[in-house]
Amino acid sequence: MEKAKILDKEAVARSLTRIAHEIVEKNKGVDNLCLVGIRNRGVYLAQRLAVDIKRIENKDVPVGILDITLYRDDLTMISAQPVVHKTEIDFDIEGKVVVLVDDVLYTGRTIRAALDAMIDFGRPKSIQLAVLVDRGHRELPIRADYAGKNIPTAQNETVEVRLEEADDKDEVVIIEKHP
């Protein structure tokens, strides 16, 4: 059951624009920067951030796509079979600042898997994390460098990020699972 709408289309756009500004500010430009979106919705967000950054700095930053299925720590536990999709990082991340982008930060396990995957691709100078929503309940010592919105949630709730590229509209909602 849909409980509340946290962000609407305009709020999603404003959050991303702010994150883009913060990325540019923190890294003093974007010369050595690349974005890597985590499938699926992190990819769309990374692509949007690249457009925002281009508007601010007038520079293109490379955008990669990361599928973390093969790095999950729960492969044998989940009952739904994971589908393996392609990872597409066609630039060298050696010495670069990599900004990982995902829609929701929750337990931190996805990011743990993504960090392992990134390090298999080379040795970046540093890795930062940008998320649209941080909903808490971390199970690992992981935090976001850039967050669109912090939303306190209960464990029986899910945060659903809907994006035009996949869901025909931009919004973030909290859904209460049936008890």
Binding site: S79, K86, D120, G122
Partner: protein, 314 residues
């Protein structure tokens, strides 16, 4: 869809959707081999046993590389040198491997149906790496994967398989797989090397390679297994090359961009000329590379097999 099979025994029993799932998964795995660190942790802690009752280098090595790129541990058993010589049966060997707490057995056996027998008696995942004259599913899958990669589709393609069809598990698996995906298959060989009932599998028959190559999108050249030379029905080598060998001259009369495949090892100057094997139409070495991605996909899928009845939760 969910992959529900604990074993991969052949393409005959697979649906079109299942074959497409393997091919799509393999497409994702191909990128792993192009990385600096060619390894992902997906099968970390799993043990894969290659149990080979027939000599094989390329298939065994391909499975070994595939398993290692998934971080599995690999044990190779060449049955000729093992306790099989002391009289142990296939099922007993399988149960011993199970008792060692291995997870996947990749089996190559001279008898058709041996992997199926093994799969019925052990709980491990069993992958057929070639059984008798029956099937060699991963070879056909990598052939089809390569075709799809090169031509963008499988449906509607015309594929010629030339060579010793009668003794070829590669041919059988290819016919099943290609037909299910909507390709037209024509087998071409001297009459005595065409098995009965091949038409019932969905292939047409030709004994004229030049006729068969007309309009073909791809030709899969099988190795002439001259180690079977003692059989009276076998043609003489030079005569075979003259009548069925894939040469530059023959390809001049075929489609300009026809794809030439060969499962290896190639016999230059017998079933294929060197010019063609090394030429622009040949994808023989790409098949080897693709074989790793396809076998990674198969090992991953059987290891993650799920019962369809289980609820989907995340």
């Amino acid at each position: 869809m969910n992959w529900t099979r604990k074993d991969l025994l052949g393409l005959e029993e697979l649906s079109k959707v299942e074959i497409e799932l393997i091919l799509a998964t393999a497409e994702s795995f191909k990128e792993v081999s192009s990385r600096e660190i060619k390894k992902v942790p997906a099968l970390r802690g799993k043990t894969v046993v290659n149990l080979f009752y027939e000599p094989s280098t390329r298939t065994r090595v391909s499975f070994e590389v595939a398993a290692k790129r998934l971080s599995a541990d690999v044990i190779n058993i060449a049955a000729q040198e093992s306790s099989v010589r002391k009289g142990e049966t296939l099922v007993d060997t399988g149960k011993n491997i199970e008792a060692l707490k291995a997870d996947i057995i990749v089996v190559r056996h001279g008898a058709s149906g041996a992997p199926a027998l093994l799969a019925r008696h052990v709980g491990l995942n069993v992958v057929n790496a070639g059984d008798g004259w029956h099937e060699h599913p991963t070879q056909a899958l990598l052939d089809i994967f390569t075709l799809k990669e090169k031509l963008g589709r499988v449906e509607g393609l015309k594929v010629v398989i030339v060579g010793d069809i009668a003794h070829s598990r590669v041919a059988r698996s290819n016919i099943w797989g290609l037909s299910k995906l909507g390709a037209k298959v024509c087998v071409c060989a001297p009459g005595m090397l065409i098995p009965p009932a091949i038409e019932e599998m969905g292939a047409s028959i030709s004994s004229d390679i030049d006729e068969a190559l007309k309009g073909a999108d791809a030709v899969n050249v099988l190795r002439m297994q001259f180690e079977r030379d003692e059989e009276a029905a076998f043609p003489e080598k030079l005569e075979y090359f003259k009548n069925f060998g894939i040469t530059k001259e023959r390809l001049l009369r075929a489609k300009k961009d026809i794809i030439v495949m060969h499962p290896g090892p190639i016999n230059r100057g017998i079933e294929i000329s060197s010019e063609v094997a090394d030429g622009a139409n040949s994808v023989i070495l790409e098949q080897v590379t693709n074989g790793i991605a396809v076998r990674m996909a198969v090992l991953f899928l059987v290891a993650q097999a799920r019962d369809e009845k289980q609820p989907h939760t995340d």
